[in-house]
Symmetry: C2
Subunit: 201 residues, 2 copies
């Protein structure tokens, strides 16, 4: 009869299932994730896992939500403490690159975009939701750097957001195949060059 | 006793297995491909498929080889007929974007890079081989545009190749999630802006 404690224990179990699920997704992709494999992996029964996640898809969506939350906490929230304008924009870009290092097995959102881009359904919709939100937040940071007159007045925020996104994707790709250290040098330089090409003179 | 005809028929069968395998990979990823599923799908016995591909991995590698060959034929070879320098470089970039449209279910090389970036083995090695070659060919086209004095003398070909690669990855990502028509407008503009920022004045 201690509902708070029960809830808190339940939440902790839920979190540890998600944490393990993230590790599986990084190795095997979202299709490699099942209630059965996760149950075996955390030492629970399948029905125990089902008590937390009603379906495999619900668990897959929880992995996406967790990745998006980590990204917000590690990239956007610290960057928002930086001075608005170019400083904040570059902080977002740079923290994003470093975040990719912390994602040891690759970013779950990038994996999901590849795995579900041609499979209509809840996972694809969730990826689109987060990617749209990310692009909007990035565009907003760019618009602020236009307001501060650091970027040119004719800068189209959505266009530059697309271009920054490309640099981050190339960073993700190269760091996974050719090594982080070489990739981050190229990416930092690419971001700097890109922003410079939009800079007000 | 007609070895030539047999070989030609054998090659045709092999090609049709690969073609079907490419379709499966686009839908299910490389991990979704098995000798069993492909046999059922082309109406052959498993041992019939094994006569052409000694293992699942061999079949997966053949899919990568086929994708690389299509890319060479549809992007690089036509572009090489263009005038060397900036014209050729932009032709490569632009044909690359359009090639992504023809890859209805997404580019197998991008999928493989995501699926195998943390799994050591023959597939990962093959992806690295092709990605290294692609980056070298792109760098060579850039170096020519420096020789023709269209791009600045201090242009670092590998850096610009990385940046162009980022635009193509963003094109791949956006066209799959948000639609080809919007993505190609952004990508064409991104490529043009990028190259302009390296242009000799």
């Amino acid at each position: 009869m201690q509902p708070a404690a029960t809830t808190s224990k339940g939440a902790a179990t839920r979190d540890s299932i998600i944490e393990r699920a993230v590790q599986i997704v990084r190795k095997e992709g979202f299709e490699g994730l099942s209630i059965g494999t996760i149950a075996g992996s955390v030492g629970m029964s399948k029905s125990g896992v089902f008590a937390h996640f009603g379906s495999r898809e619900e668990l897959q969506l929880a992995v996406l939500d967790a990745a998006a939350q980590r990204f917000t906490e590690q990239v956007f929230l610290p960057a928002i403490r930086e001075k608005r304008g170019l400083t904040r924009l570059l902080a977002i870009g740079s923290r994003w690159m470093k975040w990719l290092r912390s994602e040891q097995g690759g970013c779950p959102m990038v994996s999901a975009a590849i795995e579900y881009d041609d499979r209509p359904g809840a996972i694809r919709e969730r990826v689109i939701f987060y990617q749209t939100r990310l692009r909007k937040e990035l565009s907003r940071a760019i618009a602020m750097a236009v307001e501060t007159k650091e970027l040119r007045a004719d800068t189209e925020p959505e266009q530059l957001a697309f271009e920054i996104f490309g640099v981050e994707l190339a960073m993700h790709h190269d760091s996974r195949l050719f090594g982080f250290d070489e990739a981050i040098v190229r990416s930092e330089r690419a971001l700097q060059r890109l922003v410079d090409s939009y800079r007000a003179r």
